[in-house]
Every structure is written in C-alpha cells, then in structure tokens.
C-alpha cells in the first residue's frame, strides 16, 4: 500500500496533475458529452483535496479513515451542487469513476518492469479507492435530493392550507388536493387557532379542490367539524361537486347535520345571513 500511496501522490502533484485532470475530463466526456463547464474546476478541487488527504496520512486502503475528511467534503459539495442543478446520481458518480482511467494508465507506466503481483495489488487498491469515492458521492447525492424533496413537501403542505377571513366572523379554508390525516391535522390546528384569535363563529371549508371523498376523507372532515363545534363555532362545507354528492349518498356517509352547499358563494350567503347581515343592491 505504501507503493500505491507513493504513486498516487506523485500523480496528483504538479506537473503531473495538470495532465491527470485533462485526461480525467477527456475520459468523463466520452460517457457524458454534455459535461458541465464547471467540471474542470471541480476536478481540480478534487485532485487538490485528494493529494492533501494523502499527505496528511490518509489510509489508501480504507476510505473510512477520518483523514479522508477534506476529500469527502469536496465530494459532498460536488454532489450537492450537481443535485441542485438537477443532474442524476448516475452522471455524478460516472464523473468520479472516470478518474480511474488516467490513474490506472499512469500506474502501468510507473510500475513497468516491476513485480506483477505487486502491480495487481496496486491496481486493485486504486480501483477500490476510486470506487469508494464514487459511492460516497452517490450516497451524498441521494441525501441531498431527499433533503430537497422533504423541504418542498413541507412548503407544499404549508401553502396548501391557508385560512382566510371572508367576512367579520367568517373564516374560509379552500382545500386543494387529497385530504389525508396529516393535512387534516394541520387544517384543524390552523383553523381552530384562527377561530380563537379572530373570534369567528363560522368557518367555511371549501372542498372544490379535493378530487375524491371516500369514507376516510369524510371521517377527517367530520373530525374537524366536531372540533369546531366543540369550541362553540360552526362549520359549513362548500364546493361539493355532483359526483361527490353521489359518492356520499352511495357510501351511506352520515354528515351529522353539517350544512353543505354546492358553491362557496352559497356558503358565504348563508354565513352572512346567520351572522345577521343583509346584502342589498344599490339601484
């Protein structure tokens, strides 16, 4: 392994490093003709960190050695930026794997005339090392994408359950998308909190944007309405599409005396009535 380390260190330093990087980019381009323009800068950073870690005594036989941290950090950064650019995990790990060819070519020249068993050992060691690097990059890529997805999910959840004030004492929640227990919980908490804050007596839940209503969805809606009534306010459900009305009847769902209206306009009209308002048109 000492030999291997010596060889790699040699290959990673100037003036050899310039050629190494060139060959690396060339090899990467054969599998990915649309290689990012930043690739050369990325490659230079990786080579620098690679050399630095080895100089600090990192074990070329195990990528888990903590002294590989500088290189790992550079690979993580590379991974994250590629993930944010929308590239696939495959593209990124193929890029890292492309480093193998120039390094192995150089190894052959460097070890020429030497022991073939030693050459095999060095060959294997180098392959394993670069594979670990590519693997590390792929794993980090995965984590980065998952983080992005999770964050987007949270934002989506927040955006899709706004509680708006329709009138004095009347709140409305336009629901868009499927209603699962997660969203029901959020809607309940947000709506109830707003009811207390504004002292509104009526809440209108509009389900125009809810594609299907089955017994589970109905249960969630009923839970929300019960909670609202417990607190001393009342609820109207609006935006019931004809198909949904049919489904509710067919499934035998009992709406327990909740007022339902086909449109938000009707619900608002009823709400205004109940809270003592009368709307007149000026001639």
């Amino acid at each position: 392994m000492n030999n291997l380390t010596t060889y790699i260190l040699d290959a990673l330093q100037a003036p050899h490093s310039a050629v190494l990087i060139q060959d690396w980019i060339a090899e990467a381009r054969t599998s990915n003709p649309d290689l990012a323009k930043s690739a050369t800068a990325d490659a230079t950073e990786v080579v620098a960190a690679f050399g630095a870690s080895l100089q600090a005594g990192a074990d070329a036989g195990s990528f888990r050695d903590p002294r590989w941290l500088p290189l790992q950090q550079v690979l993580s950064a590379l991974s994250r930026s590629r993930a944010a650019q929308g590239q696939t995990a495959g593209d990124t790990s193929v890029f890292v794997l492309a480093l193998k060819k120039p390094l192995l070519d150089g190894l052959q020249t460097w070890a020429a005339g030497g022991d073939s068993a030693q050459l095999m050992a060095a060959f294997w060691g180098l392959t394993k090392l670069v594979d670990s690097m590519a693997q590390f990059t792929a794993t980090t890529f995965q984590h980065a994408r998952e983080e992005i997805i999770n964050r987007q999910q949270e934002e989506l959840l927040e955006l899709s359950t706004p509680v708006v004030k329709l009138w004095d004492g009347v709140l409305a929640v336009p629901m868009i998308g499927t209603l699962d227990s997660n969203r029901t919980q959020i809607v309940m908490e947000t709506l109830l909190q707003k009811i207390v804050e504004t002292g509104s007596e009526l809440a209108i839940i509009d389900i125009t944007g809810v594609p299907t209503v089955d017994t589970l969805v109905a249960q969630h809606l009923l839970k929300t309405v019960t909670a609202i009534r417990l607190m001393g306010a009342d609820c109207i459900i609006s935006g019931i599409r004809p198909q949904i009305a049919q489904t509710i009847v067919h499934l035998g769902i009992d709406l327990q005396g909740i007022t339902t209206k086909a449109s938000l306009a009707d619900a608002l009209s009823l709400a205004l009535q109940r809270t003592g308002w009368r709307v007149t048109r000026q001639a």
Binding site: M188, E189, L192, Q193, I195, V196, G199, E201, K223, T226, A227, I228, R229, L230, M231, G232, A233
Partner: protein, 116 residues
C-alpha cells in the same frame, strides 16, 4: 331567580376536585335558583376523558335543576384532544368566549319562558 353562575377552571383538576365541584355546583344552583351556568375553561390546556365526562355530567345535573350550562373558552388543543378521544360532549352548549356565552344563556332563558 334567573341568575347566572360563573365557574372558572384554572388548574388542571384532580378527580376529587372535579367531584367536589359537581356537588358544590348542584347545591348552588338549587340554592340561588340560577337559570344559567357558565364554565370558563380558557385556562385549561390539557384535558382527559375524565374532564370531558365531568363537563357532560355537570351539564346534565344542571338541566335537571332547570339551568342551562354553557362551556366557554375551549382551547384548540383541548378541542382536538376531545375529538380524538371520541367525546363530542352531547348536550353541552359551547361558546367561543364569555360574551357569546352570556348570549347563549340569554336566548335559552327566553326560550324556556322563565319570568324575570
């Protein structure tokens, strides 16, 4: 006659306290001839099924003694817990705050046709 009793629950209640409250309240309703009982639970942040049942029984006892009960100031977390526990507090009127609660009691008194 026709007075309203106001009960404010400020601490999380122990079972014995709740039972004592029921006794006390029944006595008071009978003694003062109150027609309305308002239970303010705005300071209550946690409830369990016991408290839920207690509110329902106070309401029942009051009704028999010909008084209306209204629970006011329920916090969102409490409402959610009661729903999750499956307690819908049948027969217990609720209102958002004391003001609205008094409104409810006033209407109930009018409907029952009590004089005064």
């Amino acid at each position: 006659m026709g007075a309203t009793l106001l009960v404010t629950i400020q601490v999380d209640m122990l079972d014995q306290t709740a039972l004592a409250l029921q006794d006390d309240l029944a006595e008071r309703i009978a003694k003062t001839g109150a027609s309305g009982v308002m239970i303010d639970i705005s300071a209550l942040e946690i409830v369990d099924s016991f408290v839920g049942r207690m509110l329902a029984s106070i309401s029942g006892i009051a009704r028999i003694l010909s008084a209306t009960t209204v629970v006011v100031g329920m916090q969102p977390a409490v409402a959610i817990t009661l729903v999750e526990l499956g307690l819908s507090l049948e027969g217990v009127k609720t209102a958002l705050n004391v003001e609205r609660g008094l409104e409810v009691l006033r209407r109930a008194r009018e409907e029952s046709g009590l004089v005064g």
